[in-house]
Amino acid sequence: MYRNLTIRQKQIVWAWAFLALPVLFYSVIRFYPTGNAFFISFQDWNLLGDRTWTGFDNYQKLFADPVFWKVFKNTFVYLLLGTPISLVISFVIAYHLDKTRFMHGFLRMLYFLPFMTSAVAMAWVWRWFYQPVPVGLFNNALAGMGIPQFPFLQSTKWALPSVLAPAVWAGLGFQVIIFMAGLRAIPRSYYEAARIDGVSSWTVLWEITLPLLKPTIVFIVVFSSIGFLRIFDHVFNMTTNNPGGPLNSTKPLVLMIYETAFSSFDMGYAAAQTVVLFLVLLVVSLIQLRILRDT
């Protein structure tokens, strides 16, 4: 039977033969649970008992929950602060590192090191840095200079930026490497032509480097946006005793999902939050791709 197929058909058969395993993997490990989450979001389930259908109850409860809106806002603050700040810093570092010859490899490694470090370990170290006197490094330094203590993690205003800072720092290494690869991929001849024309270095940056880096920037923006929208380990580990606190000021959506599911055991409500997160991620990614790709 196989013998009677045309070459094109044989190619298709082979393609599917090789695709079978990943397709199976994705359907069982990814798509089935995803689909299940949509179902559970319309149900009431405490993980132990029966599941009962509740229609849109979980969603109604969600939209009426002030904590959800607070958390929703936090999630976007992480995104809107985190993505541009990390983008600018990593570009500046990559731009200058690209021109540096002295200890280039060593410096690059230093920037990449935090990315390889476990987020949990890093979050705990920063958490101790932020403590008040007598344990906190920063506050001890402030107190040593006679300056009043700063309530890093103990204030509703400053806790979120304090949690965000190490998260940005940890992600820099990866973005720097990607930016450097992007910079290297720009043909030298453009820069040579610009130099012959006597163009200022500001114009070179603005007219040559940045436009040609667009694909790299799109990738990093989408990638880091998804990362900040899903931020969890830094927040959870820096605020374990009072997750997402004080007063929910640092709580991102993923942490709320985690708590609803695995400490309140309200799986239906947690699934509804997951669906909302999924939609947010989808919409944000689509918008970014659209804006940044077309010009």
């Binding site: 009431d44 405490n46 993980l47 132990l48 008992g49 029966d50 009962t52 958490r127 101790w128 403590q131 008040p132 006197v133 007598p134 344990v135 107190a143 006679g146 009043p148 203590q149 993690l153 103990q154 204030s155 509703t156 005793n241 009072n242 606190g245 004080p246 007063l247 929910n248 708590e259 695995f262 400490s263 309140s264 055991f265």
Partner: protein, 422 residues
């Protein structure tokens, strides 16, 4: 005749051989599940060994999991006919386990309710439904006041027995640097640790209130007593003469372990880790009473129950195992190894245990302890944390913050009990 005899002998040999094989095939294996905590696993290993020595035809296989996976695994395994015959669960999960048909009541002939009512500390009655008990603890926990002996001595104060003495002692042990930053606290504070239990079942009752009504289905602390209790608690860490601050050295027990806190309220389960802290000289005393001598404490416990999976001979073996793990002997072993308190006064209130320097204060505390029936312990604790944060971070008045907390907690309880009754 000789032939017949031979035949009879052959038959006899065959039957006895069958009986021999049969008895070894009758050896029953039952499975026991608990979450992983070093001392608990060690204690249970000892109990299983003793039990198997006494019952050679039963083997018990223990499986333990990290706490985080525990509930999920139990929920997945039992309905599938896998998993434990005897399972350990937190007292607060009982309703969920019963509703999900994961456990079955203990047999009334072996565990008659009237006898258990009499033998165990009264808070265990929360596990009773009509004439049957669903589950029973080996050990219970309560709160007490730990103190750092060196700091107490240095400040020239004695372990406090009343609230007034406690505040005075805490003031004497509090130290600040030149800028007024706390460098040593008189006592620790933080609703994230055990303080929310102390506030609910300890302080509110001591100030004459009743934190909940209707078998813990109605919040009742938005009252005069609740407000007094909150103001008393907040006075520890607010104002210029604060004796502590929330988040000092990150966690209350960390501050105490590091020798930077004079006093610390915690559960009996902390004893083990304090014993392992080098250079810390500590003692423990009962939670301080009011000036009128009113005391109140909180207790909680883990229980063992027989799952719906256990049937036939496994059920019988499981019953025997339950009998052993709730015996006086098992409780004494649990106390010695884990440091958790015996669930029966007959073991706990022995001369030796009740007057023990370390266990004594906790065991005496059991006599006036109450057990909160939580619908969602971490959710309900979070409300207490936020109640204090609204006051310290947003400057809200105690009255207002208390009212918000009471309302939010009632919402959690309503949702839980309404779902349960559906």
């Amino acid at each position: 005749m000789a032939f017949l005899n031979f035949k009879a002998m052959a038959v006899a040999t065959a039957t006895s051989a069958a009986a021999l094989f049969g008895s070894s095939a009758q050896a029953v294996e039952i499975e026991y599940w608990q979450y992983f905590f070093d001392a608990r696993v060690e204690a249970m290993e000892t109990l299983i060994e003793n039990f198997q020595d006494a019952n050679p035809d039963i083997t018990v296989k223990m499986t333990h999991f990290p706490y985080a996976d525990y509930r999920t695994k139990v929920a997945a395994a039992i309905p599938a006919g896998e998993g434990p015959d005897v399972v350990q669960l937190f007292y607060g999960w009982l309703n969920d386990y019963v509703a999900a048909d994961l456990i079955q009541p203990l047999p009334a002939d072996v565990f008659p309710a009237s006898k258990i009512d009499e033998d165990f500390f009264p808070m265990v009655q929360a596990m009773k439904d009509g004439d049957a008990y669903w589950a029973l603890p080996t050990a219970v926990r309560s709160l007490a006041l730990f103190y750092n002996e060196r700091l107490l001595e240095e400040a020239g104060v004695k372990p406090p027995t009343t609230h007034e003495e406690m505040i005075a002692a805490a003031k004497a042990m509090t130290k600040r640097d030149g800028a007024g930053n706390l460098t040593q606290v008189g006592m620790t504070a933080g609703m994230t640790a055990q303080d929310h239990h102390w506030w609910r079942e300890g302080l509110i009752r001591q100030f004459g209130g009743d934190p909940y009504l209707d078998d813990y289905q109605t919040v009742n602390y938005n009252s005069e007593a609740g407000l007094e209790a909150l103001n008393f608690y907040a006075s520890l860490f607010t104002g210029d003469d604060a004796v502590t601050s929330i988040g000092f050295m990150d966690e209350p027990q960390a501050a105490f372990k590091a020798g930077r806190a004079g006093m610390h309220i915690d559960g009996s389960f902390r004893i083990g880790s304090l014993n392992n802290t080098r250079g810390l000289k500590w003692g423990v005393t009962e939670l301080p009473a009011t000036a009128d001598g009113v005391r109140s404490n909180y207790s909680s416990y883990w229980v063992n129950a027989i799952t719906t999976k256990a049937e036939g001979e496994k059920y019988d073996a499981a019953v025997k195992f339950m009998e052993y793990v709730t015996s006086d002997e098992a409780m004494q072993i649990w106390l010695d190894v884990v440091g958790e308190l015996p669930a029966k006064p007959s073991v706990g209130m022995t001369e030796e245990n009740a007057n023990d320097d370390v266990f004594g204060p906790f065991i005496r505390g059991l006599e006036y302890a109450n057990t909160t029936k939580f619908a969602n312990e971490s959710g309900q604790r979070q409300l207490m944390v936020e109640m204090v944060e609204r006051m310290t971070l947003q400057g809200m008045s105690a009255e207002e913050s208390l009212a918000i907390a009471a309302e939010a907690e009632q919402a959690i309880l309503d949702e839980y009990y309404n779902a349960a009754s559906n």
